[in-house]
C-alpha cells in the first residue's frame, strides 16, 4: 500500500545529489522540466522509476528523488522492459542519448517500441557523444567534423522520428529543451500515454556541439522553420501562420498557403503522413510536437492477461503437483526383488 498522496511539489523530486553537467548544458532544462512535471502527474515518488544507459544524459536518474537505475550503455530499454513486466504498477521512464539509444542500444530501443512496453522514453539528442568528449553520433549530420571525423562524417544519420515510427511506436513526439512550455506539454502527453512513448528532445551540448539546433531554434527564425503539430489543427507555420502543408501528387507533401493545409491527426493508423512529416528536411520546416498517438495493448498488459488465463486453465496448481506431473511411478521398499 502506498502512502496517501500528499500534495507534492517540484522540490520533492529533487534528489540530494550534486548535478554534474557542464554549465549551460541543456540537460539542466530538461531536468527542471521533468521535475516540474512530476507533481502534476499525481503519481507517488515510490511508484516512479527512472532508468538510463550511459552518457551525459544518462546521469539523469541520480538527480531525481524517485527510484532510479543507471544501467549500462544502451541497455536501458531492456532493463526497463524487465522492470515494467515484473511490476506493471510502476511508472517507468527511460532516459537515453543519441549514442546510447540509437547506436549501441538501437536494437533494444526498436524492440521496446515494437512491443509497446508501457515506458516513457526520452531521447536527449545533442547529435554528438558528450560523455566521451565529442565523437560523431548516429544523429550527427553527414559531413560533420568531430574529433573522430576530422574530415567530416561519411555515414548518413538516423532520423529518430522515422526510426521510431518504423519500429511501430504508438507515441512519437519531438520537442526542444529550449522551449520549456512546449517541452512541458509534450512530456505531459507522453506521461499520459499508455504504451511506449518516444520523445526526441533536442538538447544543445554547449561543449562539443554548441549551436547544433540554432538553425531552427533561434528566435528570429524558429517560427518560419518549425511547424508545431496540434491534433485536429491544420499543418500551418510561419510568424503569421500563413504557410501550410498539403498533400500533393504521388504521396508527397507540398508547401503552400495555410488555406487547404492538411489537418493533423495523431491517431491515424496509416503511417504515411506521419512518416512524411517526420522525414522533412530543410528547406522544409521541421515538425515539433506529437506526430502519432494511438492506443494499442501493451506487452506488460498482454503478458499479465495471458498469465491470468493460464491460472484458470487446468493443470497442476501447486508446486508439489507440478513436480509430480507427467509419468510418475512409485518405488516401495523391497520393490525390485524378483
Amino acid at each position: 500500500m502506498s502512502a496517501p498522496l500528499v500534495k507534492l511539489t517540484k522540490k520533492d523530486f529533487v534528489s540530494d545529489q550534486e548535478v554534474r553537467w557542464c554549465p549551460g548544458c541543456a540537460d539542466f532544462a530538461i531536468l527542471a522540466g521533468v521535475q516540474k512535471l512530476m507533481p502534476e502527474l499525481g503519481i507517488s515518488r515510490e511508484k516512479t522509476v527512472f532508468i538510463s544507459g550511459i552518457g551525459c544524459a544518462s546521469r539523469f536518474p541520480y538527480y531525481m528523488n524517485t527510484y532510479g537505475f543507471h544501467g549500462i550503455h544502451g541497455r536501458a530499454p531492456a532493463i526497463a522492459t524487465g522492470l515494467k513486466m515484473a511490476n506493471p504498477d510502476l511508472t517507468v521512464w527511460v532516459v537515453t542519448g543519441d549514442g546510447d539509444g540509437l547506436s549501441i542500444g538501437g536494437n533494444h530501443l526498436i524492440h521496446a517500441l515494437r512491443r509497446n512496453v508501457d515506458l516513457k522514453i526520452l531521447l536527449f539528442d545533442n547529435r554528438i557523444y558528450g560523455l566521451t568528449k565529442g565523437q560523431a553520433s548516429p544523429t550527427s549530420e553527414l559531413g560533420k567534423k568531430t574529433k573522430s571525423s576530422p574530415f567530416g562524417t561519411v555515414d548518413r544519420p538516423f532520423n529518430p522520428l522515422t526510426l521510431a515510427l518504423g519500429a511501430g511506436a504508438t507515441f512519437v513526439a519531438r520537442t526542444t529543451a529550449n522551449d520549456m512550455p512546449h517541452m512541458s506539454s509534450v512530456l505531459k502527453r507522453a506521461a499520459a500515454h499508455k504504451g511506449a512513448a518516444f520523445v526526441e528532445i533536442w538538447q544543445n551540448c554547449v561543449v562539443f556541439n554548441d549551436g547544433a539546433f540554432d538553425e531552427w531554434s533561434e528566435k528570429d527564425v524558429r517560427d518560419e522553420r518549425l511547424l508545431k503539430l496540434e491534433h485536429g489543427k491544420p499543418l500551418v507555420y510561419g510568424k503569421t501562420k500563413d504557410k501550410g502543408l498539403r498533400i500533393g501528387g504521388g504521396f508527397t507533401l507540398e508547401m503552400g498557403a495555410a488555406d487547404g493545409a492538411v489537418v493533423h491527426d495523431e491517431s491515424r493508423d496509416n503511417l504515411s503522413l506521419a512518416l512524411a512529416l517526420a522525414a522533412l528536411e530543410p528547406p522544409w520546416p521541421q515538425v515539433m510536437g506529437v506526430l502519432r498517438a494511438v492506443d494499442l495493448p501493451t506487452v506488460d498488459q498482454l503478458a499479465r492477461e495471458q498469465e491470468r488465463e493460464a491460472e484458470k486453465s487446468r493443470g497442476p496448481a501447486t508446486l508439489q503437483a507440478l513436480l509430480q506431473s507427467g509419468d510418475t511411478w512409485d518405488v516401495t521398499a523391497g520393490a525390485g526383488d524378483a
Partner: protein, 624 residues
Amino acid sequence: MTVSAAPRPHVDLQNAVVRFAGDSGDGMQLTGTEFTREAALYGNDLATFPDYPAEIRAPAGTTAGVSGYQIQFAAHEVYSAGDQPDTLVAMNPAALKVHLPDLKRGGLLILNEATFKQSDLDRAGWKTNPLTDGTLENYQVIKVDFEHLVGKAVEGTGVSAKDASRCKNFYALGLVFWIYSRDIEREEQAIRERFKKSPPLAEANVRAFKAGYNYGETIEALDAPYSIQPARLKPGKYRNVTGNSALALGLIAAAQKAGLRMFYGSYPITPASDILHELSKYRRFQLTTFQAEDEIAAISAAIGASFAGALGVTGSSGPGIALKMEAMGLALMTELPLVIINVQRGGPSTGLPTKTEQSDLFQAVYGRNGECPIPVLAARSPADCFETAYEACRIAIDCRTPVILLSDGSLANGSEPWLLPDVNSLPKIDPDFATDPAGFMPYKRDDKLARPWAIPGTPGLEHRIGGLEKDALTGNISYDAQNHEKMVRTRAEKVRRIADRLEPTEPFFDPEGDVLVIGWGGTYGSITQAVIEARQTGLRVGHVHLRHVFPLPNDLTDIAARYRNVLVPELNMGQLRFHLRGQLGLESVGLNKIQGKPFHVAEVRSAIESLARRKHLPAEQEIA
C-alpha cells in the same frame, strides 16, 4: 516374476545399453524417449544420451545427418548412458557407418535392409556393401526389410504411403521391446495418446509397433529374449526427467518457496532453449517468460525485473553468455539477485552447438572486466539440475548477487529417474525485502555482507543505483580511492563467505587412499562408474564432485592431502585443474577430452588405474 506365461524362458541381464540411430528425419529421438519412458515406468534405473546433428535436416542418408539416442537401463543403479551399446538399431547405412565402431563385439545389430541399395551405400561412404563384405562378421545381425513389413502392417489404416513409411521407427521400437521383454500394452496406450488428433495415424503406428514386436517373436530373433528386473531404488515417487526440465522446475520451486515472481529472459540457443520452452508452459506460477531481442536484452531485462523485486533469471549457452558479461558486472555492482544459466556446448565461437563440453569454466569464474567475483555452481546429473538450480537461486537471493549455474549439453538432453522431492523439505528462502525507512541505507550490509533489497513501490526507500562505483553506505556515486578498494574487497569477501556456510565435503567411496578424483558437472556419471570399477581391482579411490566451483569448498585441500594422487577428468583442456592450482595451490593430474562427447567409463577407469600405479606422472593424460 512369473515365467510360466512366457512362451520362451528369458535371459536375465543386469543391464543393457541400447542405441537407436538413423537419419535426422527417422524419429530416433522419439523412439529413444519412448523406450526410456517404458524402462522408467517399469522400474529400471537408467541414464540416456541423445546425440544429434546441428543441422535440422542434413542431406538424407549422409553421415552428417545421423541422429542417435543411447540408453543404459539396469536392475541396479546406473550412472552413465554406457560406453558401448549391446544393441544397435541402425536405420540406414550412414547410421551404421557412424555407430558400428562403438558396438560391442558380439553385440546385436538391427538393420533396415531396404536401405542398403548402391546409392544409399555411396551416400553413406561405404566402398563395399557391409552386409556382404564381412564387416558384420563379429555381430549378431537382424536384417529387417522395414519398408516392406511396415507397409504391410499398416495396410488398411488409410494412411498415405509417406506416413506409412514414417511408422518405421515404431516398428523398430516394437522389435526392441520384444528383445528386452517390455510391456507393449502401456506403450500402445502411449502411442494412441500421442497421435490422438489423428486416429488413422495412431492406428498405423500401433500396428507397426505391434508388428515389430511380433516379428521378433516369429523369426525368433534371439534364442531367448532378455529381461532386466527393476532396480532397487530408494523408495518414493519418481519421474524421468531431462536436465533442462529439472532445471526449469528447480527455478520455479525456488521462486515459489521465496514467494517471488520469477522473470526468465532468454534468447533461443542450443542447448538452452528447452528451459525457455519449459518455463513458458508454467506461466500460472507467477512466471514471466521473455524472449528477448538478444542475450544482452535478456539479462538486462532480468536485472530490471530483479530490481523490481522479482527473481530475475537468464539462460543461454557459451556464445550468448559472452554477450551477457557486461551486464553481469552491472548485477554484481548493483548487488541484485540474478541467476545466469550456461548450458555449455562445444566452443569456442559457434563451435559444436549440439555437442557437450565443459570449456566455459574460465569464462564463468574469470570472464569479466574488473574485479568481478560471481559464485559459480555446476549441476552433475539431469536430476541434480533441480537441486543445483534451487541452490543457485537461494544464494542469489540470500546474498544479493548474480550466480552462475553451469549445466551442459549432455545433462540438458540426457535423462534419468528423479526421486521427487517433498516441497516442504526444501530449504527456506526469504527475500527479506526492506520496508523500513528508518536508518535505511542502500548499501548497509548484514552478516552475509548482503545489502537490503529495497524495491520500487516501497515508500520512503527511494534510491538510485547503477554500475558506477558507489559509496559503501549510501550507494551514491563515489570516486574515492579508499572507498573503491573497500568496495572491491567487500564484494569479494561476500562471495568468499559463501564457502564458510557450505556443508563439509564428504568424498564418495574411500575417504583416503590411492587416488582422489575431483570432477565437476556432467562427468559425474562416468567418473562414479569408473571409480566403482577401479575399486573392484583393489584400488582405494575417492571421488569429490564439486557443485561449488566458485568459491571452492574450504576443506578441499585437506581432503586432497589424504590421497596419494589427484585426478581431474574434464571435457576441456584442464580448466578446473588450473583453477584448483590457482585458488588452492592444489596440484593434480588432468584427464582431458575435447571431442564433444562425454567420457567413456573405461577412459576414466584406466586413468585412475594408471595414476594409482605410476610414480612419476605426466601433467595430462592422453586419451587415445
